[in-house]
């Protein structure tokens, strides 16, 4: 189909669950999930660092899988369950991972932070006691230009250290 005809198609209505709430909107066919979350739902915690799927800043959980929201069309997320960085804290309480990263001085400028938090949340859901090598591997698709990663890796490991581990933030 020629581009002009694609563009001429009207807005597409979508409905999805975002951070536990039913949300909806009308999107253009070309609107990415990231732009929909940021521009239409006002969830600006999901950041766009490259818009070609490399930096990982825009990572969200799409039906529990960490996903680059800059590479997913909003229309294709219709009916899906999305979790963003805004959904990690519950009832005003930071998740265990968020607290551990705060304690560990994990971040500096904070731009890459949402993607790392989501990626690490997904890792801990799948593997609650990763080794350092496993953490580094799991986070190797997320770019941070400030920290040299060591503080981030330490933060993730701190989140799964100690006896009081609860599954509260990993689902």
């Amino acid at each position: 189909m020629p581009e002009s005809e694609l563009g001429a198609r009207g807005p597409l209505p979508i409905r999805l669950e975002v951070n536990g709430e039913e949300r909806g909107g009308d999107v253009e066919a070309r609107t990415t999930l990231a732009d929909f979350l940021r521009d239409q739902l006002g969830l600006t915690g999901t950041h766009l660092g490259c818009e070609h799927g490399v930096c990982g800043a825009c990572t969200v959980l799409l039906d529990s899988l960490p996903t680059r929201s800059c590479l997913v069309l909003a229309a294709s997320a219709d009916g899906c369950r999305v979790e963003t960085v805004e959904g990690l804290a519950r009832d005003g309480q930071l998740s265990r991972l968020q607290r551990a990263m705060w304690d560990s001085h994990s971040f500096q400028c904070g731009f890459c932070t949402p993607g790392f938090l989501i990626q690490a949340t997904a890792l801990l859901a799948e593997n609650p006691t990763p080794t350092e090598a496993e953490v580094r591997h799991a986070l190797s698709g997320n770019l941070c230009r400030c920290t040299g990663y060591e503080s981030i890796v330490r933060g993730v490991l701190a989140a799964c250290a100690g006896p009081e581990r609860s599954g509260a933030e990993s689902k």
Binding site: G49, D103, H105, F111, C144, C146, G148, S151
Partner: protein, 781 residues
């Protein structure tokens, strides 16, 4: 007064960052997160050619495209904003060079902005950009320094009469000819530092909002300093300074890129003023990598006059810097490189020649430790001298490093070396890495076909550097005030973009004033409130802003105690402020909260109960130049293994022994060091801003411009040396740049050591696997 034991102080403790709760919950506010009613979106039509004359720009179709509000080409923009005047044109040339905010007569690099489209959405603005048709007359591209010096190629700026921007300018320090006459040997090398770049995770961005009724331009910027951005925008828009207000909230990294205002940012402000509506531009990664700016790319011809025992008597250096298309920062860099190249060494003589050229590549910008080439060249030459003389590199360093107890106590170029601990850092690094044992292992493994290497680099970093004798006051200003709620407001021109200033400045002020940390608010990023100062850069924060905050808090504390003593009829010496309360024998209830104290001072002042002369203006402004201690520095040490079959380099150990004075927040300091080293790892093993011979940019995505990941950056061991405290009060020093200054030569020296059995000579900084294989193959074939 209560004893202030370290355990009771915030300074020196890794207190959690006040920045983090927002950033960890997705509530940071970067420019792309800001919205204003009626906000329009900008996109730029950019040149696909590196060098061409513009014959015609046709924007008709773009103007008629859906959602488009306005299109501005270079000629129209010239009516709306002044051209940019560049620094550093050669004396005697037709310069100085100036250029439009949008390209007009010609384009000078791939990505040069030719037209600005303003539309109702970013997508519509980008759609319309594709409808703009530009007719070009192509010119031969000038891509390399050699091409820039070739008079048969066209001048990028006709008024320069060629592509030499400045130089050669030669400066001589000490008896250079004498040094070379006395030398047993002259070691020669051509050393090159390749082009790489900042790549902050948030690129450049601006939201400009002109209010026609007040005539005021409000700008939300991603900047390292609101004052500098305001000055540049006001100048380019020909507006009085007081009509421009620049605010900044969260800034997603910069590393030197975001000073002042870029051409694109000025264009968006001009568009907002013309349209009377807010205009936002957020650059995409292609724009960031292609045109925001690139750094380094400097080449050096070096001759070292050395004795048989490894003393370096003198250096002759010729430096050429490639400033890219639009000159700006490069001429400033060569002056610092020249001054800093002796580093912490007792070098007795230096001849330094510097030249700059323009090429059809992205403009040269500051990048973390912009003058770092001096450390790279010096530390590489030291190793080459060691290699030629057959002495260990450690020994050559030790023979040449300055010591604190014997002259000369200054660099041959002038600056005092008082308080440096370079020699101590080197000895300690060699001890920790257990050099003798490593070298045994290295030899043993070579027999098994494994190639390990160790490298050192020793450096000093002006942070902010020694006090300039008789120099103009180069200071940082901080204003400390108590507000009615008992909060201690600390206003600074520093603009944190990852450095945690909101936490660390609060630690210093809280301790000095006697406040609780949560009572302190560090106020940044609003030109209406921000004191004097150009912003965050040059490792000025810790010593200069930290010192100004300390002195400001001290003076304000004195004022509060004096007023309190009057009200309570007690001696000021019996009073103290501690954890946010006035305390001391005789204070009602044993402690008076600050908010209550302030309202009592206010009431007493207004009802005339205070004697004249008691200062009840609860504000203190202090300027501070960094004090007596000016140098940070240290030694980095790296152990690598090079795989001779694949060319892959694995970092087995990375160690930093450093001295940045007293630590305000050790976790913040370590984060700055590790982040800098990571950029050095990238610079050597991965990152290169690559152009093809036609001047097309080859590294325009993050799949081509490779940043280090969590798998590339090793664990970085850090040891802090105990500093020499020369100042009575302020012995904090900056630490932002050292990691990136020292890591590239350290890693290159380690790789060179690993490759020594192959007879390979490492004369460049970028050593990806393909280059390693070339270095091995070129000599063993």
């Amino acid at each position: 007064m209560r004893p202030r034991v370290p355990a009771e102080r915030y300074t020196g403790a890794s207190v959690r960052r006040v920045e983090d709760e927002r950033l960890l919950t997705g509530r940071g506010t970067f420019v792309a997160d800001a919205h204003l009613p009626g906000m329009l979106h900008a996109a730029f039509h950019r040149s696909p050619l590196p060098h061409a004359r513009i014959v015609a720009v046709n924007t008709e179709a773009a103007r008629r495209a859906p959602g488009v509000v306005a299109v501005f080409d270079g000629a129209e923009m010239t009516q709306m904003a002044s051209p940019v005047a560049a620094l550093g044109a050669a004396p005697g040339s037709g310069g100085p060079v100036s250029f439009g905010i949008l390209a007009m007569d010609k384009v000078r690099l791939v990505g040069d902005p030719v037209a600005l489209v303003v539309a109702e959405s970013r997508a519509l603005a980008e759609d319309a950009c594709e409808l703009i048709v530009v007719e070009y007359e192509e010119l031969a591209p000038v891509v390399t320094v050699e091409q820039a010096l070739d008079p048969s190629l066209p001048a990028i700026f006709e008024e320069l009469g060629g592509n030499r921007l400045f130089g050669p300018e030669v400066k001589v320090f000490g008896d250079v000819d004498g040094a070379f006459a006395r030398a047993d040997r002259v070691v020669r090398a051509s050393i090159h530092q390749h082009r790489h770049q900042n790549v902050p995770m948030e690129g450049r961005a601006i939201l400009a909002s002109f209010d026609a009724s007040s005539g005021q331009l409000l700008v939300r910027a991603s900047t390292q300093g609101v004052n500098t951005t305001r000055q540049m925008l006001a100048q380019q828009l020909r507006m009085p300074l007081d009509r421009v207000r620049v605010v900044a909230e969260d800034v997603g990294g910069s590393f030197g890129l975001k000073f002042g205002a870029s051409r694109e940012e000025a264009a968006c402000c001009a568009a907002s003023r013309a349209l009377g509506q807010p205009v936002r531009w957020v650059e995409d990664r292609w724009e960031n990598l292609t045109v925001s700016g690139q750094a380094r790319e400097e080449s050096f011809e070096v001759e070292a006059a050395v004795t048989a025992s490894g003393l370096i008597l003198g250096l002759r250096v010729q430096m050429v810097i490639d400033s890219g298309a639009y000159p700006g920062f490069a001429p400033l860099v060569v002056d610092i490189v020249r001054e800093m190249i002796p580093g912490p060494y007792r070098l007795g003589a230096l001849s330094f020649s510097s030249s700059g050229v323009v090429t059809n590549k992205a403009s040269y910008v500051a990048y973390r430790g912009p003058w770092a080439a001096e450390t790279f060249v010096r530390e590489r030459i030291v190793d080459l001298v060691a290699q030629e003389l057959g002495i260990s590199a450690l020994e050559v360093r030790l023979r040449n490093l300055a010591t604190r107890d014997e002259p000369p106590l200054r660099m041959v170029t002038g600056p005092s070396l008082a308080g440096i601990t370079a020699r101590e850092s080197l000895l300690r690094a060699a001890e920790i890495v257990d050099l003798a044992r490593f070298q045994e292992r290295q030899l043993r493994l070579r027999d098994e076909g494994r190639y390990l290497g160790v490298g050192f680099a020793t450096y000093i970093e002006p942070a902010p550097g020694p006090r300039q004798e008789g120099g103009e006051g180069n200071t940082e200003q901080v204003r400390v005030e108590l507000d009615r709620d008992g909060l201690l407001l600390v206003h600074t021109a520093q603009m944190p973009h990852g450095q945690s200033h909101r936490t660390t400045l609060a630690q210093v002020a809280a301790d000095e004033f006697g406040a609780r940390l949560e009572q302190v608010r560090v106020m940044v990023g609003d030109s209406q409130q921000t004191p004097e100062g150009f912003g965050t850069g040059g490792s000025r924060f810790a010593a200069m802003a930290g010192g100004a905050a300390l002195h400001g808090a001290r003076r304000l504390r004195g004022k509060v105690l004096e007023a309190a003593a009057q009200i309570l009829d007690l001696a000021p010496t019996d009073l103290d402020i501690w954890r946010g309360e006035l305390v001391g024998p005789g204070v009602p209830g044993g402690g008076l909260p600050l908010a209550e104290l302030i309202s009592r001072i206010d009431l007493a002042a207004r009802s005339g109960q205070l004697p004249p002369g008691v200062d009840v203006d609860l504000t203190a402004t202090e300027d501070f130049d960094g004090g007596e201690s000016g140098w940070s520095g240290g030694t980095h040490c790296c152990v690598v293994e090079v795989d001779p079959d694949t060319g892959l380099v694995r970092i087995l150990r990375y160690l930093v022994v450093e001295d940045c004075g007293d630590l305000i927040n050790p976790a913040v300091v370590d984060g700055q060091i590790r982040g800098g080293v990571a950029q050095g790892v990238g610079a050597v093993l991965l990152e290169r801003s690559a152009y093809d011979p036609e001047g097309q940019y080859l590294s325009a995505t993050l799949m081509d411009y490779l940043l280090p990941t969590a798998l590339d950056v090793p664990h970085i061991e850090i040891e802090h040396l105990s500093p020499v405290r020369l100042d009575p009060d302020v012995n904090f020093r900056g630490v932002g740049e050292g990691g990136m200054i020292a890591a590239p030569p350290t890693i290159c020296n380690a790789i060179a050591d690993a490759l020594s059995p192959f007879g390979a000579k490492v004369l460049e900084q970028h050593l990806p696997p393909a280059r390693i294989l070339e270095l091995i193959g070129a000599t063993s074939a």
